[in-house]
Amino acid sequence: MFSFTKEQEILDISGIKIGGQPGLHPTVLFGGLFFKGEPDFESGRKQLQKMLDISKKTGNPAIPDFFIRKEEYIEDILVFIEKTVPNNHPFSIDIIEPSLKVKTLEYLDQKNLLSRTIYNSIHVGITDEERNALKNHTPNMAVIVAFNPKDKSPDGKIEVLQNGANLTDIGLLDIAKKLGIKKILVDTAAMAPGDNSGASIAAIPVIKEEFGLPTGCAIHNVVEKSKWLDDFNSARKPVDASSNINIQLFGGDFAIIGPIANADMVFPIIAWQDILISEYTENYFGIVPDDSHPRRKLF
């Protein structure tokens, strides 16, 4: 349980606060929708409601993360967001294909949704078209993934953020700032098991002390890729859910928890850990938890 010397930025998107010293704000959780097949909007609506309900109970803000796989899904997913995600509630869009990112940004702008958008994500594969689209249709907040194919250690992650590690012309943080993105979250790029997966956790305090930015990762991805866990099937979900506590124990601010269906198990685990951290950090560092903190809700 840590406290940082570097001043920590606290970002606000539609009233949800992310970042700061450990123990100040609850850990923010991103739950993903529509990863596979055609988007099932009825099931998505129910799962989203469940996540928002449990978020209200624990105090941990929930951000739906919409995975968009095909161009023909963009409009329907954005209509779903307009109709189903509560007014002014933030959401993130998670897209791999650069051309889809560009089109989605245009649609988000047309629908006046950019002020609620967390763009997931900017990384070293950013294209010129994507940069133009981000400049013209700038989301309120963006996740920068510190993936460095050359060096997966915390130093390598810092390198891509600072100077692009020769993979981009300038550092990823400067790219985002130049494009007009003012609110930046750093994702420490969790790798597959056997590929320095632990570095994404070790990098959290290093990056927070270096830049003071809200930091987290999708440690769930490591568990999902594990073949070893196939031998322990009943343990897969608990291991997946509990792996997220590594993030907050290392001072992190948010966790991308994988499918939204994981929310029922992840939220209480994270809330519980937030309480432990807050009890320590208030005693030793004088960090008084925010009114929305789980410590103020569960006792």
């Binding site: 349980m1 840590f2 406290s3 940082f4 010397t5 570097k6 796989r69 095909k70 897209i95 791999i96 294909e97 650069p98 889809l100 990384h123 070293v124 594969g125 993936f147 194919p149 050359k150 060096d151 250690s153 915390p154 130093d155 390598g156 810092i158 020769n166 993979l167 790798m191 597959a192 056997g194 590929d195 070790a202 305090p205 290093v206 927070k208 002390e209 270096e210 073949k227 001072g251 320590y280 030793y284 560092f285």
Partner: protein, 189 residues
């Protein structure tokens, strides 16, 4: 060829060590016949490709690499693998003309990539999903009975070396230290 050299890590199945065909399975439900040397899925356009290259060149009997199934959305890993074989990498280690999102080869040296380009011929079956069509190409490759390429090439995985000696017991990392309570600060400040 020593057993410990072949194959490298990753998600794959080995079959006939003397087989001349390796099969890369993209988005398709297909299991190749036992006569192939090795087969497995490819997901990412960087680390996944590196593992395939390292495995293939460690077995000189492999002379054909069949890439089949629908390409991986966004990553375009299959097309990026084909681009690596055709074009190699540029100075920034990016696969030239690869359509994938982050097609960087960082853990293999140029010699390994050069060897991959020379040792194997690629059968580009991206978008092909019918079992009989893929099986036929495997049979055609086997019928050619190509000679071994020679000695195995054991690719060296390039790993970064630590440059800071951590003699400071408070250090969490070379860049930060922590006091007994958990207060973190930058090293040297």
């Amino acid at each position: 060829m020593k057993d410990e050299y072949y194959p490298w890590g990753g998600e794959f199945t080995t079959c006939s060590a003397k087989g001349c065909v390796a099969v890369v399975i993209l988005n398709v439900d297909y299991t190749p016949p036992d006569k192939v040397a090795i087969y497995g899925p490819l997901k990412t356009e960087n680390i996944g490709i590196e593992k395939i290259v390292a495995n293939v060149i460690s077995n000189p009997n492999i002379r054909y690499l069949i890439v089949c199934g629908d390409d991986i959305r966004g990553h375009r890993s299959g097309s990026s693998l084909v681009a690596l074989h055709k074009n190699g990498i540029d100075e920034q280690h990016r696969i030239i003309d690869a359509p994938g999102a982050i097609p960087f080869i960082e853990n293999l040296n140029n010699e390994a990539i050069d060897r991959f380009q020379k040792q194997i011929e690629i059968a580009n079956l991206i978008d092909v999903k019918k079992r009989e069509d893929i099986d036929k190409i495997i049979d055609d490759c086997n019928a050619k009975s190509p000679p071994s390429f020679g000695e195995p090439y054991i690719a060296i995985r390039i790993t970064p070396t630590a440059t800071t000696l951590l003699d400071d017991k408070r250090a969490l990392h070379s860049k930060i230290v922590m006091n007994y309570m958990g207060k973190i600060k930058k090293r040297g400040e």
